[in-house]
């Protein structure tokens, strides 16, 4: 004859279930509690003067600058082409340190600030100079 089915240690099982659900939903309610404001990126005087970035649409620049940089480096290193004439008709030398950081010379307040917020950590700066402008004045360091 079959025995009646029932939960043994009812209290323990239910308490365990509650803790389990609490733990697996942790990320949701933990993040819900605090809203992190997106960082305000600062433009340098030089950038303000230029008004536009390499891709004239700021939103595109925000979303696609990594692809643009990838394309730039392949074009420069592999094809030997170094000139980029943008959709706005402006000419740029395709260079991370010498062009992007020429306008955005405030890397810490611009690139880094946003990357920190987005949890990205580009390894480019292991090789590319991150302050081509700043230390030009005090070269002997």
């Amino acid at each position: 004859m079959l025995k009646e089915k029932r939960i043994f240690n009812k209290k323990l099982v239910i308490a365990g279930l509650i803790i389990f659900i609490g733990v697996i939903t942790f990320p949701f309610w933990f993040n819900h509690a605090k809203v992190v404001a997106p960082p305000e990126v600062k433009l340098t005087e030089k950038a303000k003067e230029a008004k536009e970035c390499v891709l004239p649409d700021k939103v595109k620049m925000r979303g696609n600058h990594m692809q643009l940089l990838d394309m730039w480096r392949d074009t420069v290193v592999r094809d030997g082409n170094r000139k980029y004439i943008g959709t706005n008709g402006k000419e740029y030398e395709m260079s991370l340190s010498n062009t992007c950081l020429d306008c955005h010379s405030n890397k810490a307040d611009f690139c880094d600030k946003c990357h920190e917020y987005a949890s990205v950590n580009p390894y480019c700066w292991d090789c590319h100079i991150d302050n081509p402008k700043e230390t030009k004045n005090n070269e002997t360091q």
Partner: protein, 263 residues
Amino acid sequence: MKRNRREFLKLAGITTASVIGATSGLTMAEASGSGEAKHKAILAKNQKALTAKRWGMVIDTTKLQTASDIEPIISACHKIHNVPEMTNKNHEIKWIWEEEFKHVFAEQEHELVNERLRHLPFLVLCNHCKNPPCVRACPTNATFQTKEGIVMMDFHRCIGCRFCMAACPYGSRSFNFQDPRPFIKETNKEFPTRMKGVVEKCNLCAERLAVGKLPFCVEASNGAIIFGDLDDPQSEIREVLNTNYTIRRKPALGTGPSIYYIV
């Protein structure tokens, strides 16, 4: 469930058609979306850029007699390319350096070799071979040959396996065993450094050729290094090759070096 042949073919047809439809739809979305700017922007060479079918060099050793003739050339190159001066000799990084006859032309060495040659400091660098063994050895295509015959490194792809170093018969490649930055005395802000774990070597000043300048060693050599297009019969370098007896390093290996020596 049984399916007859006809039903099976119908189903297969529909599946194939929908897959094709979906992929072409995707490609179109891509073209009209984020890719848009890329299609309209123009990528070009600088108008001043120096170009050739195959770059090469002749090093006139009669004009480079002593170490003090050679030293400024080496330091010029190493300075603009942020080549570090490692304190540990085993970790040495070099793009262009000095070597003795018996090492440069090992197969020509004999006990009665001319006194001048025996003590002459030779300038050596990557040979930018026509048939480069390093390129064949590289598993990631980080090292490749440009259309102009330069054997280049794409540092972004180098995984540091050092197959290229094993393949190169001239020892032209160095490996970064440590972070090179602390060993660079004066950084040239316009050129990237390298990092721990990548191989590096001479790039024939691709970044200078692109803006119409000669390689820096050529500029620093006071005419002792002649640079030009080996495939252009009218070029100065061909004239020099035609009027002088020149030799190359380890020609029997079939790598086809593009660096020639007047000895």
